[in-house]
């Protein structure tokens, strides 16, 4: 068996992954309330399984799409892969550098200049000062910010912020790119540029994991897709089939 070869090609592996949120039935936001409820013996929690026993292997170089309704667990799945959430049960193994493209520019500070924010945001993604200096030119070029780079971020338009965010997040060739419906940034021309850049990564052998409500996107760019509902994997396979099954399930 050439199993070792096969295992090396798997870059993301989820083994019986379950994620449980514990939601108190009666919400208490403060310590005082908690103590009172505790004394009354009324601290009861409802368990909510956002993901339930998910087994999934994603190969190197694959563009993998995830479809499902709101609240089906798609974003939770991306968070498990990008290490934000540790699974309650089961295990995740990710082999390679993950570039999360979730909520671009979430950490930007309005009082800092674009330049200072680039360094801060790149550091949040784990890059060093020296590393950022080397990429700085290309980040600014791609974002089309121009001279505004030395103005405080509060003077930017929201499109400029999103462009700078995308530019920082994708300036290091990622091995695994995670996209959560973020491709709606900027104007059409910039969106085309984003798509082109993602295509480049793919050509270089990067793995892409994306969530989309857009059936057309999934069908046209994904190699494989999965449909998730109520935290459970319904089907995995050919994108056209998956989209078809998913549509059928909700059109009735």
């Amino acid at each position: 068996m050439s199993d070792s070869q096969h295992i090396e090609d798997v870059v993301v592996s989820l083994n019986a992954v379950s994620v449980k949120y514990t939601v108190p039935i009666v919400r208490f936001g403060t310590f005082k309330e908690y103590i009172i409820r505790r004394l009354q013996g009324r601290v009861r929690n409802r368990e909510f399984w956002a993901l339930n026993n998910i087994n999934l292997q994603i190969q190197k170089g694959e563009v993998f799409g995830i479809v499902g309704r709101n609240g089906a667990g798609k974003s939770t799945l991306l968070k498990v892969v990008s290490r934000v959430l540790r699974p309650s049960q089961g295990s995740v193994r990710v082999n390679g550098r993950v570039a999360p493209l979730l909520e671009l520019g979430a950490a930007f500070h309005p009082e800092l200049t674009g330049r200072e924010n680039v360094f801060l945001n790149a550091a949040l993604l784990g890059h060093s000062q020296k590393d950022v200096e080397e990429h700085f030119e290309s980040i600014v070029d791609f974002s089309e910010i121009g001279d505004f780079i030395d103005a405080p971020l509060r003077t930017y338009s929201s499109g400029m912020v999103a462009r700078l965010g995308f530019s920082v997040a994708t300036s290091w060739d990622p091995e695994i790119l995670i996209l959560d419906e973020v491709l709606a940034v900027g104007d059409e021309a910039f969106q085309a540029k984003c798509h082109a850049r993602i295509g480049e990564f793919q050509a270089m052998g990067a793995t892409v994991l994306l969530v989309s409500h857009n059936a057309h996107t999934v069908r046209s760019i994904c190699h494989r897709a999965a449909w998730i509902d109520h935290g459970e994997l319904q089907a995995v396979g050919n994108p056209a089939d998956i989209v078809e099954q998913y549509r059928k399930a909700y059109s009735e």
Binding site: S82, H109, A123, H127
Partner: protein
């Protein structure tokens, strides 16, 4: 620089406390950037800028001197006495409060991208250290003006910094952990800080504390020992007591370890909570 190949395996059962230490080191550039951001943005739109870091404790000292120098007239060079204590206290109160607030701020970030959870607390300590070093400038000026020449004992300061930073880190980690779960910990801690300030001989001389309270206010109060490590070499110009130094460092490192272990044990749940 991020290494070429990274493997994340959630089932690896390394000790969480150790894993977090490794991860915090890997993200050291982020800690540096966060400190830089805090120092830069704090006074970004103010005219005097970073000078406020130095003027702030001086202002406090002036107010306290006007209010209390008559009352505590027996204290030699009262402004210098009060400022040495205040500088240490400010570090403690500012960094622990900042850790807590940063965690709540960073909380929204923690549920979006992965960063080691301790970076916000560590960067708060770093910002505090920058402020502490800056506030040494006015402190030394006041010491000189009030007739307290700098002595060789000033070389002891790094050890005093170490004890103060370790203790603050421990307390900061502990209250940040609790504050994630219960928002009124933040309010409670404000009150505790105020009480703690008045129960520690910072604005009043030790001599006015009656004998029967000294066990509680001095012996069992970690901040008393830590403040003493600042006062002895700077204000009194003597080497700190060996047993007091050992006690202060011992407590500080114990609290730091307890804080680190508690925080890292709970930190996987933070993203679920905030």
């Amino acid at each position: 620089m991020i290494e070429g190949t990274q493997i994340y395996d959630s089932s690896l059962k390394r000790s969480k406390a150790v894993e977090e230490l490794v991860e915090a080191y890997r993200y050291r550039h982020l800690i540096f950037q966060l400190i830089r951001r805090d120092v830069l943005t704090r006074y970004k739109r103010s005219v005097l800028g970073v000078a406020w870091t130095m003027l702030n404790p001086l202002g406090m000292m002036l107010v306290l001197t006007i209010a209390f120098s008559q009352l505590f007239g027996g204290t030699r060079a009262y402004p210098a006495y009060v400022l040495t204590g205040l500088v240490a206290w400010n570090f403690f109160s500012q960094t622990t409060l900042a850790s807590m607030n940063q965690m709540v701020w960073g909380g929204s970030l923690l549920s979006r991208i992965y960063v080691p959870r301790t970076v916000f607390v560590l960067s708060s300590m770093g910002t505090g250290l920058v402020n502490l070093i800056l506030s040494m400038v006015p402190l030394i000026i006041v010491l000189l003006i009030t007739g307290n020449p700098l002595r060789i004992t000033v070389v002891f300061l790094p050890i005093a910094f170490l004890a103060l930073a370790a203790f603050s880190l421990g307390v900061g980690l502990l209250i940040s952990t609790w504050a994630i779960y219960y928002s009124d910990i933040a309010e409670m801690y404000q009150i505790i800080l105020t009480a703690w300030l008045y129960l520690t001989p910072i604005i009043y001389p030790e001599s006015i504390v009656p004998q029967n309270l000294r066990l509680w206010l001095f012996t069992l109060n970690p901040m008393y020992h830590i403040v003493s490590l600042f006062r002895a070499p700077l204000y009194e110009g003597v080497w700190p007591d060996v047993s007091q130094t050992v006690a202060a460092l011992g407590i500080a490192f114990l609290v730091m370890a307890a804080g680190w272990i508690t925080f890292t044990r709970k930190s996987d749940e933070f993203a679920y909570r905030v």
